[in-house]
Symmetry: C2
Subunit: 214 residues, 2 copies
DNA sequence: GCGTGTGAAGCTGTTCACAGCA
DNA sequence: TGCTGTGAACAGCTTCACACGC
């Protein structure tokens, strides 16, 4: 809703607030202040207030924030108050694990279609989905209102698959392939890459431990 | 190797360079300059040179970098030239997928033990591992030289498990549980959280699409 | 000429500190 | 009094631009 640019770091933090507020509400806290939120999330209260101020005034001086109200506002800002439909591309081991991951649906992210380039996999059942061939991608995306593509193909094919998704109308990509894909303009990419996470972790672990040498 | 502090953002980018250099080498490029690297990774050449300068001088004026040499140096800086042993805690659906994920071993990250709190799971075989009870954690960590813990338990238990791992000597945590855990001092935590990724993505997708309302 | 390495400049994000309101 | 919202100060990261060496 703000017409000016909000820093991306701020947007990335909003889901953390959503999660913390959800927990607080479940614990029965109807009011919360930036101090309390900050100590949960290990952030300074000033940062939380500043982040929220990009989007409006949600608190009451001297009292803090109404948990329920702030949560609802943030969910609306992030567009979490609607259903988001996703398709999966790549139904190998990783893809199957993603389909069966129980964390998406409760947050209104629904994987409603699965695709694979391998003809041997097309037509098989995974979870409650029938694997489709890539030729059906375009039509399915439009018909089912799919706006997010989850990419779980080998690195070598990922760039091609991402470009295909985008050209067929998908604007958001959740990429599990181990590469830094080039995002076509106007798209949003998020990468899930445990190996990269580990590889930057070892820098800090380096002198404290580490086994054998190669 | 630098005695002064290197910004964490820089450390996080190094694995990207490692990956790009590996690809370049496989393609036969024995030399590379910051311009070329930058266009692969969608970064400015200046940033790459600045990042590398935190660690030393790896290039030759007028020529660029020797791909093989720079790659070896970066791998050494990140301590990727040794084997890293990890244990997994939580062998539910997610945990089993992690054990079977084929991306870790080629990068010298080896999951050498698996634990679960549920007695029904203890003793079962997953991949080539026998699931152990939490009571064996401490001894196994020490005996096998485990320095990384992979956490794949439900959110409610994650904080407790992380603290247990740390108190038993594990300094690096790769956390798959959907929460923002508090890291005990001196530990390195990396979170893998696809739902958070999606929830910040939708902010940008909000007006371009989105299905039905709740 | 070309590309690195690097101080300096510029910019972006974080923290401070306080006015203002309940 | 207590806590928000926010301009101003500060810190940190990125980009610039050029001296240097190949």
């Amino acid at each position: 809703m703000p017409s000016f640019e909000v820093p991306e770091v701020v947007v990335v933090r909003l889901p953390l607030y959503v999660r913390a507020l959800t927990t607080l509400l479940a614990e029965g806290s109807e009011m919360v202040n930036s101090q309390q939120l900050g100590s949960r999330l290990l952030m300074t209260p000033a940062q939380i207030r500043k982040d929220l101020s990009y989007f409006g005034k949600f608190g009451k001086q001297g009292r803090g924030y109404n948990t329920r109200f702030l949560l609802r506002e943030l969910r609306q800002i992030l567009a979490l108050d609607m259903e988001w439909r996703a398709c999966l591309v790549g139904v190998g081991r990783l893809g199957r694990a993603i389909i069966n991951y129980p964390g998406f649906a409760p947050e209104a992210f629904n994987i409603v279609a699965a695709f694979d380039q391998d003809p041997l996999r097309v037509g098989t059942e995974i979870g409650h989905l029938t694997v489709q061939g890539m030729s059906e991608l375009s039509v399915t995306v439009e018909r089912r209102g799919i706006s997010i593509g989850v990419v779980a193909v080998p690195a070598a094919q990922a760039q091609e698959v991402i470009e295909r998704l985008v050209s067929d109308g998908v604007r958001g990509i959740l990429n599990y392939a181990p590469l830094a894909p080039k995002a076509p303009a106007g798209t949003v990419i998020r990468n899930i890459d445990p190996v990269l996470s580990l590889q930057s972790m070892t820098y800090y672990l380096r002198d404290c431990l580490g086994v054998s040498s190669a």
